[in-house]
């Protein structure tokens, strides 16, 4: 009963969030200068042509009327047709979504591994040069934005020591026919490890660029809360039982220290997804973010709207997942 109610409350909150995002994006992109019609017509088009095209895309109506028409479509699952690509927005967006999800999740995994390792090492070697070195590295990782890390990586592993692919999602020469767009996932299921290796070789640098700042944040916060936890009585008690320091940290301190970090990872992950827009552009990675930039350049209003709504939906889902994981890891919340 209680669970049903909290799920219901969550759904309502999600709808309100999405509606808010829809309102903002819809009106803002119509208020800023530039319009799709101007982008489509050759110079010297007549007033008549412009008017005809505007009527075709419904842009002759008032903004409010346009909004009602669009929202009516969205409720029925029709996000309109892309002006520049002339395909249904929903198909376009869902076609690109898997690429971005795979990239973001890979970045998240890399960030958790690097950040976690830094935090654990720093705690084990606390108050030594090793910890100081980790702090300095983290500070540097954090003060350089992800797209600059992307350029650094391209220089290192694409130019000076070319081991990874620097652009695209998969080599066009590879021959494969997958049922879904989740190439990375499906290549494992189909045991096509050649495809998998090619995908990873393409994804690794953009994912790492996205992961570096997040890893630094995770390292800092997790190390901080680990060090605080290390002073607590139950950690000391475990030490007196004969456990070596490393297992005291991982067995006793980590399960508690990870809780505040988890909330932060949730928030930061949404920033990371936002970061994919520029990183995908930088690495010509065929994902949602790259499409978003094209959509903005072409003033492709329906496509921009569709992408923004999808991003908003991802954000709320991520937050929901974080809350659920938090409850699962913290017995004090489970019974409350």
């Amino acid at each position: 009963m209680l669970l049903m109610r909290s799920i219901l409350a969550r759904l309502v909150a999600t709808c309100v969030t999405l509606f808010g995002a829809a309102v903002i994006v819809f009106f803002v992109i119509r208020v800023v200068p530039g319009n799709p019609i101007a982008m489509m017509l050759p110079p010297g088009a007549t007033e008549d042509d412009i008017a005809r095209l505007q009527a075709l895309y419904g842009l002759d109506k008032s903004i409010f009327e346009q909004f009602v028409i669009w929202l009516g479509g969205v409720v029925q699952g029709d996000f309109g047709t892309s002006i520049s690509l002339r395909q249904p927005v929903l198909d376009l967006v869902l076609g690109r979504l898997p690429a971005t999800l795979e990239l973001s999740i890979m970045a998240l995994v890399i960030a958790v591994i690097i950040g976690g390792a830094m935090a654990l090492t720093g705690t084990l070697r606390r108050e030594t040069r090793t910890e100081a070195a980790i702090d300095v590295t983290g500070g540097m990782a954090l003060s350089v934005p992800d797209f600059l890390w992307g350029l650094v990586l391209i220089l290192l592993f694409g130019v000076l020591w070319p081991v990874f692919h620097i652009s695209g999602r998969v080599s066009p020469s590879l021959d494969f026919d997958f049922a879904t767009q989740f190439y990375l996932f499906e290549s494992v299921l189909r045991l096509r490890f050649d495809v998998w290796a090619d995908l990873v070789s393409h994804m690794f640098m953009p994912a790492l660029a996205l992961a570096i700042p997040l890893a630094a944040i995770i390292a800092q916060l997790l190390k901080q809360s680990l060090k605080e936890t290390m002073h607590l009585d139950y950690v000391t008690l475990a030490r007196t039982k004969g456990y070596p320091e490393a297992s005291v940290i991982t067995r006793e301190a980590l399960p508690n220290a990870v809780l505040p970090t988890l909330t932060l990872i949730g928030v930061q992950f949404t920033f990371l997804i936002g970061g994919t827009v520029i990183i995908e552009r930088l690495f010509s990675y065929e994902g949602l973010g790259n499409m978003a930039i094209d959509a903005v350049i072409n003033r492709d209003l329906p496509l921009i709207q569709g992408i923004v709504i999808l991003f908003a939906l991802i954000f709320t889902v991520v937050n929901l997942v974080v809350d659920m994981t938090y409850a699962a890891l913290n017995p004090r919340l489970r019974h409350a």
Binding site: R126, L232, Y234, L237, K241, Y243, P331, R332
Partner: protein, 288 residues
Amino acid sequence: MSFLDVENLTLRIVRGPRILRAVSLSVDQGEVRGLVGESGAGKSMIGKAILGTLPRAIEVVSGRIRLDGTDLQTLSARERRRQIGAQVALIPQDPLTALNPVRRVGPQITNRLVDILGWSKDNAQARALELLDEVHIPDPARVMRAYPHELSGGMRQRILIASAFAAEPKLIIADEPTTALDVTVQKQILRLIKNMQAKHNTALLFVTHDLGVVSKICQSLSVLYAGKVIEDTDTRRFFAGPGHAYSQALLHATPKYTDPDDSLTPVPQQVIDAVEAEVAEFDKGLGA
């Protein structure tokens, strides 16, 4: 030879002042020794030094700690950890923070037996149930599955006592184990610790600032001031008439709950001055 022998143990804050000054004390098998002193006298530091849980900022200047005749300093870090884990147990001060909040109670009792001493899970489980029963916990099987936040402070302290005795340690260090508890629960816990100690014939080092507690359960006691043992005597003689002026003043300062008109008597300034002078003399002798 006593089971625990601490000899001339001197600790200091790294590049800072001394915390313990040539402390010597011993606890025999079956003996309960009280370790009394004001806050900051270094009582807990002795326990931490024995258990190997001194804060990183504190270093051992000199001295020896022997467990059953073995000098802990001669052992490798790994072997020392194992020996302490197998032979010494701690009953901590605050039961509310001494259990890991995200783990069930059962594994927190059995983990030493399984991970350090190599018992089978079933044996450890049976042993834990037996001990929970010994410390008068109703429905031990249910409590083993509970999380700490579901249990009261008194229950948690009983669990920690059970956990301390689980591996049949030769020495138990109780660091003010009743301070954080309700007054009504304190007495029960004290009696429980005493009974368990007698039953298992364990050496017990009881750290406290409460002389009343000492009179009830300790056979011997060491009085600590500024990290220096001021007096080392047996309990009966101490309460008959302590030898050192500071001990006398300390005993005199203990409030008598039976007399509502009794006001608190502080330790007189000239006694403090005298004992401070003694400490200064000691430090001068060491050339610092």
